[in-house]
């Protein structure tokens, strides 16, 4: 095992209301691949952002090649030899591969850009990495996998000594992953240190040397990959936390009518043949890791994105949902994880947002019945305990939890019976979380039915009556709350290569 090239010690970082990193340690050695694992929100990305200068740490030290360092931006980190390969690609689709690799540092011959030399250099680089990409190809014509290779090649071309892969395989196919692993093994031989962030257990076993596990912003421990099992890692990831009143059995009677039935829903790569049923008064949890296709399923169901096929039955009747309008007419309501973009119109008032989905109901002839609008909004503000000085407050001035309640009010005002909560408590502080949970329980008690997409294991176990687990666009299992454990869910959510 190589010598230590990078040490992060006692790293601490807080955001308003969140202690994102709580005295975390990390050690990376030359010529090794270190897996960094943890549930969503465990602090992996934050730690890497602190390392590459995107975030400033509150305390702690970073030692790199024997010296203490603190990078101000990614560019400085890059120059020092620490490069991050992002999950989202920073590419220029209209330029060629070689032009992308050398953007901002072109070779020149007089005033002329020496594209020939750039192509040659790119070719050399690809040869060195054993990848087969034509440097003259336009970037947008490449598959996502090949684009990812280009990003890796770019990182290598910076003479990187430490390369961080942030979920590099999320969008890759089987063979592309194989190809990437080949590159990683080559880089290992060249004594380059790598940090590999991934959720895929099997990949971790295949490619990494050590595994560092984080949980809730803290460092849990480091294992030698060869010596541990998948179960060891999962146990470290989930820990042994005691949950606030977790559900032990479903509150829904077995004979409750099915209000929503989805069969063979297909929409692109992220939604493949998904089928499930939702009963009246039930909270159906959708669990899975980031990129499992849960949000995509919800959006396709709601008509927000086009779908390729699938049958939807509402209260036993087959319905056609091609646009959100159709969905709303069927009694569906969608609460997006990104409230500001998809949920509310921030520059409008609480009352205006409340009435948005059901203007018809707030008309007096051709005019908007503003009194009724405000009265109804006030009703929901009281019922949901939304904290706002008045219903004429602009939504932009409310906190995240209260904005969420405004979105709930919008759907309640529309009499929607089936609500899809996509990450209902993301970006909401603990106190407000409990309120949202109470609200959801109240809603199902009143006969509404809820689909809850959540990446938080505790949330899933606490709220759901039944749990659908997805992985890579497919439904991998369905668990009754009585039989569900963190381990069983995690097992279904992580992929097994056959």
């Amino acid at each position: 095992m190589g010598e230590v090239i990078l040490t992060m010690k006692d790293i601490d970082k807080s955001f308003p209301g969140v202690h994102a990193l709580d005295h975390v340690d990390l050690e990376v050695r030359k010529g090794e691949v270190l897996a960094l694992m943890g549930e969503n929100g465990a602090g992996k990305s934050t730690l890497m952002k602190v390392l590459t200068g995107i975030y400033k740490k509150d305390s702690g030290t970073i030692t790199y090649e024997g010296k203490e360092v603190e990078f101000k931006n990614t560019r400085e980190a890059q120059d020092a030899g620490i490069v991050i390969v992002h999950q989202e690609l920073n590419m220029l689709g209209h330029l060629t591969v070689a032009q992308n690799l050398f953007i901002g540092r072109e070779f020149k011959k007089g005033i002329r850009i020496d594209d020939k030399k750039m192509n040659e250099e790119a070719k050399k680089l690809f040869d060195r990495l054993n990848v087969n990409i034509d440097p003259k190809e336009t970037m947008s014509n490449l598959t996502v996998g090949k684009q990812q290779m280009c990003e890796i090649a770019k990182a290598v071309s910076f003479d990187a000594k430490v390369i961080i892969f942030d979920e590099p395989s999320a969008a890759l196919t089987e063979s592309e992953i194989e190809e990437m692993f080949k590159i990683i093994r080559d880089l290992k031989k060249k004594d380059i240190a790598m940090v590999y962030i991934s959720h895929r257990m099997d990949e971790i076993k295949v490619i990494t040397d050590r595994v560092t596990v984080m949980r809730d912003g803290t460092y849990v421990g480091t294992l030698i990959t060869e010596e541990c099992t998948k179960e060891d890692i999962i146990n470290m990831m989930v820990g042994r936390v005691i949950y606030e009143d977790p559900k032990t059995e479903s509150a829904v009677p077995k004979d409750a009518p099915v209000v929503l039935k989805v069969e063979h829903l297909n929409a692109g790569k992220m939604v493949q043949d998904v089928s499930f049923e939702l009963r009246k008064g039930e909270i159906l949890g959708f669990s899975g890791l980031m990129g499992a296709g849960r949000t995509e399923t919800a959006r396709a169901l709601f008509g927000a994105d086009p779908k390729e096929g699938g049958d939807i039955y509402v209260n036993g009747t087959k319905v056609t949902i091609n646009t959100p309008q159709d969905a709303v007419d069927c009694g569906l309501g969608y609460l997006s994880e990104d409230r500001k973009r998809y949920g509310i119109v921030v520059q409008k008032t609480v009352a205006q947002n409340t009435s948005m989905a059901f203007m018809k109901n707030f008309m007096k002839g051709i005019f908007i019945d503003k009194k009724k609008e405000k009265d109804v909004a006030r009703e929901y503000v009281d019922a949901l305990a939304t904290k706002t000085p008045s219903v004429e407050q602009l939504v932009v001035n409310l906190s995240g939890g209260n904005q969420q309640k405004v979105v709930v009010a919008k759907w309640l005002a529309r009499n929607s019976d089936i609500l899809i909560f996509d990450e209902p408590t993301r970006g909401i502080d603990v106190g407000a979380k409990n309120e949202i949970y109470k609200l959801m329980n109240k809603l199902v008690a009143e006969g509404k039915s809820i689909i809850m997409i959540s990446s938080e294991m505790t949330e899933i176990l606490r709220m759901s009556d039944r749990i659908v687990v997805m992985c890579e666009g497919k439904k991998t299992g369905e668990l009754d709350i009585a039989e569900a454990t963190q381990e069983s869910i995690m097992n279904l959510a992580t992929r097994e290569i056959a």
Binding site: M91, L92, L95, I113
Partner: protein, 323 residues
């Protein structure tokens, strides 16, 4: 070498536009025997010079994902100012030409600051500059029309860059040589220099370009300066081709140039475009302008067609993107 590169690999869109040009020529020739004459060719070319020059410049802002609407009224106002200096202030023609081009660059810088530094929406910022330049020429020159020196006078020699009359009275449109040289130069700039590379990069993904360490503000601004520079050159070409420049005209000229560029495959949403394509697109517009009267339609039909062709060209992109 450069020439080979520029003409060696025509893109699909350019071939398509060439086909349209050929079809139009055949159609017009077929419908009107008088179309197939040398004077018509000269007339098409004469009409194309200033539009082509504008198009060469405006292609840059278009590729960054913006637009420059000030070039039309701009070129008239620069030509007015240049002409005013020559005719009324007695400066040498060369200085007048430089003043004309210089004004263009100045307004280009102004637009660049508005868009790249102050971050205003390009169409709105340049729409304002369009108004400003419309007033600027007449305001500085007293609101009268100006005629640059005629080709017959000694100081009118500059007109011969565009149209040369031989001793026996044959007109040679040598301006086309000048234009072709500029087309090749700008094609080189767009495809083989940092300026062009970063122009495309900005149009493709501005944030990623910035993260790559490129001085995005500078290159974004430069696109508008190039546009202004060429509007200045177009002013000279306009003054050389037409007898008198009238204040208040020029509104709508930019549409011929932008329309031509977009017909030639420059994308309205940025990132894509070629100089050769823009040049060919302008030829289509000019053929319509000159050719339609030959088949019995008023010249103004050209405007309607330009509008429709513009939308059709963008719709092709929109539909392609949907797939």
């Amino acid at each position: 070498m450069v020439k080979k590169r520029a003409f060696g690999k025509l893109k699909g869109r350019e071939v398509m536009v060439l086909g349209i040009i050929a079809a139009m020529i055949i159609l017009f020739s077929f419908l009107s025997p008088t179309f197939r004459t040398y004077p018509t060719l000269v007339s098409v070319l004469d009409n194309s010079y200033y539009i082509t020059l504008m198009a060469l410049g405006v292609t840059f802002p278009l590729i960054t994902g913006g637009v420059d609407l000030s070039i039309g009224t701009g070129l008239v106002s620069y030509a007015l100012i240049g002409g005013y200096l020559i005719v009324h202030q007695g400066v040498p023609v060369g200085v007048g030409i430089l003043a004309c081009i210089g004004m263009g660059v100045l307004i280009g810088v102004f637009n660049g600051v508005l868009v790249a530094v102050m971050d205003l929406p390009p169409f709105l910022a340049t729409l304002c500059t369009c108004m400003i330049t419309r007033g600027l020429g007449p305001a500085l020159c007293g609101g009268f029309g100006v005629s640059w020196p005629s080709a017959l006078s000694e100081s009118g020699a500059f007109r011969k860059i565009f149209k040369f009359t031989t001793a026996n009275g044959t007109v040679v449109p040598i301006g086309i040589i000048f234009i072709v040289v500029l087309v090749l130069i700008m094609s080189f700039v767009l495809n083989h220099t940092r300026v062009g590379r970063y122009t495309i990069a900005i149009g493709s993904n501005k944030e990623a370009t910035r993260l790559a360490g490129v001085n995005v503000k500078f290159y974004h601004m430069l696109a508008y300066i190039i546009s202004g520079l060429f509007a200045g050159l177009a002013g000279v070409a306009y003054a050389a081709t037409y007898a008198t420049i009238y204040p208040g005209s020029g509104a709508g000229f930019e549409l011929d140039a932008i329309g031509g560029a977009i017909v030639g495959g420059v994308s309205a949403s940025g990132g894509v475009g070629s100089i050769i394509g823009a040049f060919l697109g302008v030829i289509v517009i000019c053929l319509m302008k000159v050719g339609l009267p030959f088949i019995g339609l008023q010249a103004n039909w050209q405007q309607i067609f330009t509008g429709l062709v513009l939308i059709a060209a963008v719709l092709i992109d929109v539909v392609k993107k949907k797939k």
